[in-house]
Amino acid sequence: MKKTTKNNLITFGGTLILCVVLGILMQAGKLNSMTMGLMVTIGIYIIASTSLNLTVGVLGELSLGHAGFMCIGAFSSATVSQILINNAGAPNWLAFTLAILFGALMAAIFGFLIGIPVMRLRGDYLAIVTLGFGEILKSLFNNIYITSDKNGLHFGFTNPPKNIDTATKLEILRGPKGTSAPDLTNFWVVAAVLLICLIILMTFIDSKSGRACMAVRDNYIAAQSVGINVTKFRLMAFTLSAAIAGAAGALYMHSLANMLPKKFDYNMSILILVYVVLGGLGSLRGSIIATIVLYAIPGLLRGINQEIVNYRMLIYAIILICLMLWKNAPVFINMREKIKAKFKNKKNEAADLTSGGAEA
């Protein structure tokens, strides 16, 4: 078996087992509602962080607008699910499935459109442009109003639509006041979407396209010179990453009673980035573990001591800086090598001693 296949199987199997165990515990009634809510949110963040890992880890570009794609997924899915349930009378499961797919599709379309200019850039410029797009998407949904009545749908931009039949009025998107999607997300849906997304991501990373992306990451010019269509593969990975973020946004939207567009801001993108970086760039397993650990620990500590939770973000920031220095600063790289060399020497000495002893 190939090493990557084995690795993927471990990651996927581990996640599957975790989901099944938690699911059984939940069905047996061993978990309280707070823990269950926490698990749903963690699952959603895992989907978001693994998808961001595709851009940051595999593509090697820093995207600071991931929350923007979640925002698209969230609000477009909320529109679809509310219309389907309230106006078309569709059953919940069907409406929700279609809503998640629609959210992912819309995020993919926007990811593709945004990717066309963005993927021409690299490094710092790319980071700041994705940040800009994230903010643009957020303010877009801050300004969109959709209301339905017996005459159909009414759209408004920057102002709520007028001339609405008040008796049958139903506000779907309310601009900066957000939207109230039906509460449909539960543990099983999140687990299913998470597993599907993992399969998609693993297949992509291990495919020819995924390897092309990694080649571009490691040496842009060398990859170009061997005939890799750099922009195409980068665009592909970026779009896929956006689509999965859209699905995560759709789930997130349907897990809360009321959602405001301003929730999907720069800080959310950074939080997801922290999970990805601390978990390890390019490692899906790392993202999963880091998200669980970093999200669950403060959630569990909250019950014990509120003070610790306040310091959480501060500690993340310090860990982030220290990790980058430890991994990349020449001083620390040398130090690590010296330590390694010392250990090796000790081992060799020990081996010499034992062998010498045997001779004597």
Binding site: G123, N143, L273, L325
Partner: protein, 313 residues
């Protein structure tokens, strides 16, 4: 009249952006890195000014000195601790570290100053407006409304803060241009941004020059912080991040690495923001600012004043 007033407000905001953008562009030119924490240095400067100005023992000039000193020291310390060890590392690592520093400063501010925004007293508080124009009566400078008894209201008012922001920024920009072109240290900065290796071979202390750049950039951020908090009298741990990012947009707009570019880009961006806020939609003005960035990067990625760089293998 409202157009002129908006235009002047835009230039005033734009000159603040220009001051911040100068910090970005100088650091980018020399250290080839995007200092994400630059916006948060503004925030720290704002709090330093707020705390010293609310203290009774501290006169205004001293609190300005303290603010500038705090920011300068902070900028140099950040450079020494977080960025210097990573000078030859991949850009992604440097960028993530910079985001980490920005996050750290924000959270320290959140813990020590709480998330509630505080009301900042303007440095020109109590001073009369710079200019008031009355229809049919002409203009009045540096005076409170002389026609209050007649019940006449000015058709155009330019506040002291707006005036100060423009004057101080222009003065600083002139000084900075002179410093860079005329002094030894300034020319060393130019040499480092042109070719760091060659500059080192010519006997320039590259590390010292980079520290100096961070010091100057942070000092400018401190001035910008005071001017901005006076014009928009509120301060919170997130005050710096948006203006910081917009100033970066201004730096890119003008051509990153170019000092006149940062000034022009900053002023243009400020005018675009205020005019779009007034004539299009206040909700969408941020989106429009970022659209400018995207259009610039697609049409002319090197900005207005930037040089074209070709990549060598």
């Amino acid at each position: 009249m409202s157009f002129i007033s908006n235009l002047l407000n835009g230039i005033s905001l734009g000159s603040i952006y220009a001051l911040i953008a100068l910090g970005y562009t100088m650091v980018y030119g020399i250290a080839k890195m995007l200092n994400f924490a630059h916006g948060d240095i503004i925030m720290v400067g704002g709090y330093a000014a707020f705390i010293t100005m609310t203290a009774n023992w501290c006169p205004l000039w001293l609190s300005m000195v303290i603010t500038v000193t705090v920011c300068t020291v902070l900028g140099v310390v950040i450079e020494k601790v977080a960025y210097k060890p990573l000078r030859s590392s991949p850009p992604l690592a440097v960028l993530i570290t910079a985001i980490g520093v920005s996050y750290l400063l924000q959270n320290i501010a959140l813990l020590t100053q709480t998330a509630n925004p505080k009301t900042f007293t303007s440095i020109a508080a109590g001073a009369p407006p710079f200019l008031q124009v009355f229809s049919g009566k002409g203009a009045v400078f540096f005076q409170t409304n002389p026609y209050t008894e007649e019940g006449l209201k000015p058709s155009l008012t330019i506040s002291m803060e707006t005036f100060l922001a423009i004057v101080v920024s222009v003065a600083i920009m002139v000084a900075l241009t002179l410093f860079i072109n005329k002094t030894k240290a300034g020319r060393a900065m130019m040499a480092c941004s042109e070719d760091r290796g060659a500059a080192q071979l010519m006997g320039i202390n590259v590390n010292g020059t980079i520290s100096l750049t961070f010091a100057i950039g942070s000092a400018l951020a401190a001035v910008a912080a005071v001017l901005m908090c006076s014009a928009y009298p509120q301060i919170s741990p997130y005050t710096g991040s948006m203006p910081g990012i917009k100033a970066f947009v201004a730096a890119v707009f003008g051509g990153i690495g170019s000092i006149p570019g940062a000034m022009i880009g900053g002023v243009l961006l400020g005018v675009i923001e205020i005019l779009s806020k007034f004539y299009i939609s206040s909700q969408l003005s941020d989106a429009i600012v970022f659209m400018v960035l995207i259009v610039v990067l697609i049409v002319r990625p090197t900005g207005i004043m930037g040089k074209k760089i070709s990549e060598k293998v």
